[in-house]
């Protein structure tokens, strides 16, 4: 990082860059956390017609605050439709009606395969992670996948402890050959820049960096020898309007989360 503070945080440029990957009008299946912030920022800036689907069955939702869970009431109240869970996975995702799946994970390998199940051995894990949830099907059925993750040697690993969700498997067309319906990860957005699969090997390659970030630093934050594109793109800094929208969204979210819950009980008999 440069000595001069750039006026935005690494998290902010990561979220803004991720939001810019989403085209207006796309149908997007949203994971919780960083993906949810990026998708809603996109909807509130350049992509007002982005259709957001959360696995809770909320279709076309337009939350005013970021949900903490994938099933907050805010998502249901602002949705076009709220459908049962078997339907969201079968009729929307499996049927091929989702353009983009947006995921995070605990570990990723060089072919964009993801682990959110365990660190260590499955039967005797060092860390039991939450598990697959909706991710394996999102990774398989969405027409394409975007991944957002902070880049560290512990999360960008040479070998996954467990393959929960498919990227390009072992690369070089294996995913396609095995009949996986979706095309796989289009980009991985990190706090250093953007990685994309290279055309033939399908191995992730660093293709773009944020201002003031070096390829050497990105390589040092990766647990395998990260390939670097011949021509590295310099990503633009967030625009003032993007930053303002994101900060207001986060401020509204903080206010909403601080609101105490009161439940009216009938008088004790």
């Amino acid at each position: 990082m440069s000595a001069r503070a750039p006026g935005y945080t690494p998290d902010e440029i990561m979220t803004v860059t991720a939001a810019r990957q989403l085209r207006n009008g796309a149908v997007c299946f949203v994971g919780i956390g960083l993906p949810s912030a990026a998708c809603n920022l996109a909807r509130l800036t350049h992509a007002p017609d982005l259709v957001l689907i959360y696995e809770s069955g909320t279709v076309g939702t337009k939350p005013k605050v970021l949900p903490l869970s994938i099933g907050d009431g805010e998502l249901a109240e602002t949705a076009t439709a709220v459908v049962p869970l078997p339907e969201i996975f079968a009729h929307y995702l499996q049927r091929g009606r989702v353009d983009v799946g947006f995921l995070g994970a605990a570990q990723i390998d060089r072919y964009g395969n993801l682990n959110s199940t365990v660190i260590g051995d499955y039967a005797h894990p060092r860390v039991r992670l939450p598990g697959g949830g909706g991710a394996p099907e999102i990774a398989g059925f969405a027409r394409e996948v975007l991944i957002i993750m902070k880049q560290t040697p512990r999360s960008f690993v040479p070998r996954l402890d467990f393959r929960t969700s498919c990227g390009y498997l072992s690369g070089a067309g294996e995913r396609r050959a095995r009949g996986c319906p979706g095309a796989g990860p289009r980009a991985v957005i990190t706090d250093f820049g953007v990685l994309r699969p290279s055309a033939r090997s399908e191995e992730l390659e660093l293709v773009a960096l944020y201002p003031g970030v070096s390829a050497a630093a990105a390589r040092a934050a990766t647990g395998w020898p990260l390939a670097v594109a011949e021509r590295l793109e310099m990503l633009p800094a967030p625009q003032a309007a993007e930053l303002e929208t994101l900060r207001q969204l986060e401020e509204r979210t903080r206010e909403a989360q601080a609101r105490p819950i009161r439940i009216a009980l009938p008088a004790a008999r």
């Binding site: 099933g71 078997p86 939450p130 949830g133 909706g134 969700s165 498919c166 819950i261 009980l265």
Partner: protein, 282 residues
């Protein structure tokens, strides 16, 4: 349908060793029923739930369960379920066997159970390590018509499914509205169905295609206002996201967790008393 105090409904229908699904996807999680199971000291339960959430963290940490069937076991938006992790990683307070699905698979497994099928079918979508560890309840096979690869998921049929809902009418029909998850499928898959509701009304506020469970499908129902707290009931109260954030600290260490459960859940006579001690009751 029998209208019973929650204490009596749990005593009569949730036995040691039973397979029990407390469903509700983030929304309408039957916390009051889960707490009553803890108070009555049930053991060896096979707990089934798509997202174990805090209520299963509590049941597992209090030693009620020996088996968990699930598809995503975290504190949504916050991080780990520390009691679930401690049981899996260190067998505390006792070992916990896991049967793991994805969301789509477990929803399908309930649907199969609800339909009297031995399994449900979906398109095979990927090759993951889940293929290796779940052969007992998940196999691939070719479609008899097209040869396309399919995944078959074994049906799930709980002994008891417990739901929380908004309303019950005079006849005992139950209305669920908002995010419904796989609640209907889990209920119809079960041998017995227990329901807690926010209120009893003369007539349900139900449009024609609303999710209504007819009285004759329900074994017993109990009126428990606030029964989903700290989860929520659409139209009644919101999810207490502050509690979900605070749980991360409460449940991190065994001693603090046990003390919190003793002071709040075990010491409270019922759910209303718990809501009063937590300062939530208005």
């Amino acid at each position: 349908m029998q209208l019973l105090p929650l204490k009596d409904a749990i005593a009569a229908h949730v036995r040691d060793g039973a397979s029990v699904a407390l469903e509700g996807f983030t929304h309408l999680i039957p916390f009051a029923a889960g707490h009553e199971i803890i108070r009555q000291g049930r053991r060896d339960l096979h707990l089934i739930r798509m997202t174990p959430d805090l209520i299963y963290d509590q049941l597992i940490g209090m030693g009620c369960a020996s088996h968990l069937t699930f598809s995503w076991g975290g504190n949504p938006g916050v991080g780990s379920l520390h009691r679930l992790r401690d049981a899996v990683e260190h067998d505390w307070p006792r070992p916990l066997a896991l049967t793991e699905y994805t969301h789509a698979e477990l929803a399908l497994a309930y649907q199969a159970g609800a339909s009297g099928m031995s399994c449900g079918l979906m398109r095979h979508h990927a090759d993951t390590d889940l293929d290796l560890l779940t052969v007992a309840h998940r196999r691939t096979l070719p479609c008899p018509f097209t040869g396309q690869q399919l995944t078959a998921v074994a049906a799930v049929r709980p002994d008891v499914t417990i739901l929380h809902a908004q309303q019950i009418d005079a006849e005992g029909n139950v209305l669920i509205r908002g995010i419904v998850g796989a609640a209907r499928e889990a209920a119809l898959a079960a041998e017995r169905v227990l329901v807690t509701v926010e209120e009893r009304v003369a007539r349900l506020a139900a449009d024609m295609n609303a999710l209504v469970l007819p009285a004759w499908l329900i074994t017993a129902a109990s009126v428990v206002p606030g029964g989903a707290y700290p989860s929520y009931a659409q139209g009644y109260y919101a999810r207490d996201n502050r509690f979900y954030l605070a749980w991360d600290e409460i449940a991190r260490e065994r001693a603090a967790f046990s003390e919190w459960m003793a002071r709040h859940v075990l010491a409270a006579a019922d759910h209303a008393a718990l809501l009063r001690t937590l300062g939530v009751a208005a």
